[in-house]
Amino acid sequence: MSLIKRQTIKTVAISTSSFFYFSKIIALLSLVALVLLVVRVYFSNQLAVSGSRVGYSESKLASFNKEKFDLENQLSQKSSLSYIEAKALSAGFIRIGKVEVIKGSGSVALGQ
């Protein structure tokens, strides 16, 4: 009888000790899972914010590119020869009638 009791006590003791052992592991794993979950939530949040930033940057880039393109076009239009000629004429410049070629290396009076 006492032998049976002793064996029972021993079995219960072993079961109890393994139960505590597994529950410790489960608790530890749960903790790890919880930490990972928090990390995941944190990084997902960060990525979502970054995505928003990327979207904003992309739209800004497109807008700057368009502005650059428009400015280049404006610049080329304002530096076109027909535009410059029209501006020069309106500013009072006149087309030269005859080209005078001054020869020789000496000083030349310009009729001033």
Partner: protein, 591 residues
């Protein structure tokens, strides 16, 4: 009691499981395709990446052709229908939409016309009715959800339509060609129209020749997005292949082009010429510095012009060169040794060949003329004398060596070959008439290129317009290419002096500005009509180069049907007006 509750619980779970299975079956099997598409649409976004057409630059780096944003106006039929008020029909709503947008689009369409101010009231009404019909028929198309209403709408028009706040209408970005220099070099640049599938495509000139390089390839970028539509950067994106059109840099000098056009167009109007063309090229490299045609057209309004107005007649129209061709005959005869500068031509009267009589242009004769005198008097009999000394075989061989009767292979779309009769088709008269440019046809470019041989020490250079293609990785440079040595350098030297004397002692010597040492030759060719030559309709031209010591440019000026009819009175004065400007521009010393 206990057993009943247990059975109920079991049945509950069985039905629950059956319900879930049925629902999953519905989602996974029955509605799979629809839901998969919906899911993809929800978490993936596709962005169209437009690849703009390559730009075209002048030699100084200034833009000749660029792109600007335009808009495609479209209608979404479901959105229009969704917005219908109670009792309102779709047709009634269309009528309202047309009444709102049609006047704005009509105004835009009229502004694009070649001469909007000259539009009659009746034409305007027709235009308006056609536009209304077009919009209505698009909106009434059966079984469509999206219809384009107007292409390439400019920003101001887009803003006007946007301000109307019409439900169901929207805009998509498009790109259209932009010409900062207006109509400058339009015939050389070509234009961008549509291909059979409605895509942009370049036609004629540079746009046509470099279509493959200039055209970009649009693509799509697919990326995963979050609930707010922002891209999720941790997930890979997939991009369909796309590439921007390549930019090209030309050899065109804006100032030379502008000067050429200014004087050529003004003079063509003054002489009442039907057509005119002009070319300025660098004989040392073959680079085209300027090329112009009259009447000019506007590449941005290309639909408003006829095919004949859009072509580059400097390379696409052939003509009989007349007396300018004598310099080719003279070069060949000198190079072979058939004649020398002091060889005397009897030249005392008309010559008869195969029943035809060959006369001088004014029926005056200059007996015992040497080469210089024959060129100065532009003597047809003298040129025939050289050709007969040279012989048919050698003459034909030299024409080929000068690049006549064959394309120059310039990098422009639409080049013609010219017309030189085959050896076996030649009669006795052909040798004589070809000697002074009759019965032979060339393009203006061929003629300018042939004369550049004389200006460049006897070497023929391949003419070209694009000197650089700019890819993202590198620049592909188009270097000058020597085609062949056509005549000996000594022959070229003698010809330069002969052409200088032809200018200084020629028919138009009074108009030559002092100190401008330019070699050249006039040409006045009657226009063949129905097998005969019309004496009052001519092609008047002048081809020359300067400065004579080290030619920097070769220029050809040509008028079709000018009044007066002679090259010496029309093309030559224009040549010298432009040459004076070029001398000043390049700082060439006047002696």
């Amino acid at each position: 009691m206990k057993s009943w509750r247990f059975t109920f619980l079991k049945l509950f779970f069985v039905f629950l499981l059956a319900g879930l299975t049925a629902r999953l079956f519905y989602w996974q099997i029955v509605s799979y395709e629809r839901l998969a598409v919906a899911a993809t649409e929800q978490h993936l976004t596709t962005v169209r990446i437009d690849s703009p057409r390559g730009r075209i630059f002048a030699a100084d780096g200034n833009l000749l052709v660029s792109n600007q944003t335009a808009f495609l106006l479209y209608a979404s039929i479901p959105e229009i229908k969704k917005d219908l008020e109670q009792g309102e029909t779709y047709e009634k709503r269309i009528e309202a939409i047309v009444n709102q947008i049609q006047p704005v689009l009509l105004e835009e369409e009229i502004s694009k016309l070649r001469e909007p101010g000259k539009l009659s009231r009746r034409d305007k009404e027709t235009l308006s009715a056609n536009l209304t019909l077009k919009i209505v028929s698009q909106l009434l198309m059966p079984e469509v959800v999206w219809v384009p209403l107007a292409n390439k709408v400019p920003l101001p028009t887009k803003e006007k339509i946007g301000a109307l706040r019409v439900k169901g209408l929207g805009f998509e970005n498009q790109s259209e060609r932009f010409y900062p220099e207006g109509t400058l070099a339009a015939n050389l640049l070509g234009f961008v129209g549509k291909d059979t599938e409605g895509n942009d495509k370049g036609y004629l000139g540079l746009e046509g020749f470099y279509q493959d390089q200039l055209q970009g390839q649009s693509g799509k970028l697919t990326q995963e997005v979050d609930a707010s539509g922002h891209p999720i950067i941790a997930v890979d994106t997939t991009a369909a292949v796309f590439k921007n059109g390549l930019d090209i840099e030309t050899t065109l000098d804006r100032t030379v082009q502008y000067t050429l056009e200014k004087y050529l167009f003004d003079s063509a109007r003054k002489y009442g010429a039907k057509e005119a063309s002009g070319i300025v090229l660098d004989p040392r490299t073959g680079q085209i510095l300027a090329m112009a045609n009259f009447p000019a057209y506007d590449s941005g309004k290309w639909e408003q012009f006829k095919d004949v107005e859009r072509r580059n007649s400097a390379i696409s129209t052939i003509y009989e060169p007349g007396s300018t061709f004598k310099v080719i005959t003279a070069s060949a005869a000198l190079d072979t040794g058939a004649v020398k500068t002091d060889t005397i031509c009897p030249c005392d009267g008309p010559i008869k060949k195969s029943g035809y009589e060959v006369q001088t242009w004014n029926n005056k004769y200059n007996p015992n003329s040497n080469m210089a005198q024959i060129l100065q008097h532009s003597d047809n009999v003298g040129a025939a004398f050289w050709a007969e000394k040279l012989g048919k075989t050698a003459f034909l061989e030299y024409l080929k060596k000068f690049g006549l009767g064959a394309k120059t292979d310039i990098d422009l779309q639409g080049e013609e070959t010219g017309l030189i009769k085959k050896s076996q088709d030649w009669s006795e008269i052909d040798l004589v008439t070809n000697a002074f440019g009759q019965g032979v046809s060339v393009t203006s470019l061929q003629m300018a290129s042939a004369v550049s041989v004389i200006a460049n020490g006897g070497k023929l250079m391949k003419p070209y317009v694009v000197r650089k293609i700019i890819t993202p990785e590198r620049e592909i440079v188009n270097n000058p290419k020597e085609v062949r040595q056509v005549i000996k350098p000594e022959t070229a030297g003698i010809m330069k002096e002969l052409m200088l004397s032809a200018v200084e002692q020629g028919e138009a010597k009074r108009i030559i500005p002092k100190g401008y040492r330019v070699g050249g030759k006039t040409g006045t060719a009657q226009i063949p009509l129905g097998g005969k030559y019309d004496p009052n309709k001519t092609v008047a031209s002048f081809v020359g180069f300067g400065p004579i010591e080290d030619p920097r440019f070769v220029m050809l000026i040509k008028y079709v049907e000018p009044v007066p009819i002679y090259g010496a009175e029309t093309a030559e004065p224009t040549f010298f007006k432009i040459a004076q400007e070029l001398y000043t521009y390049w700082g060439i010393e006047v002696r």
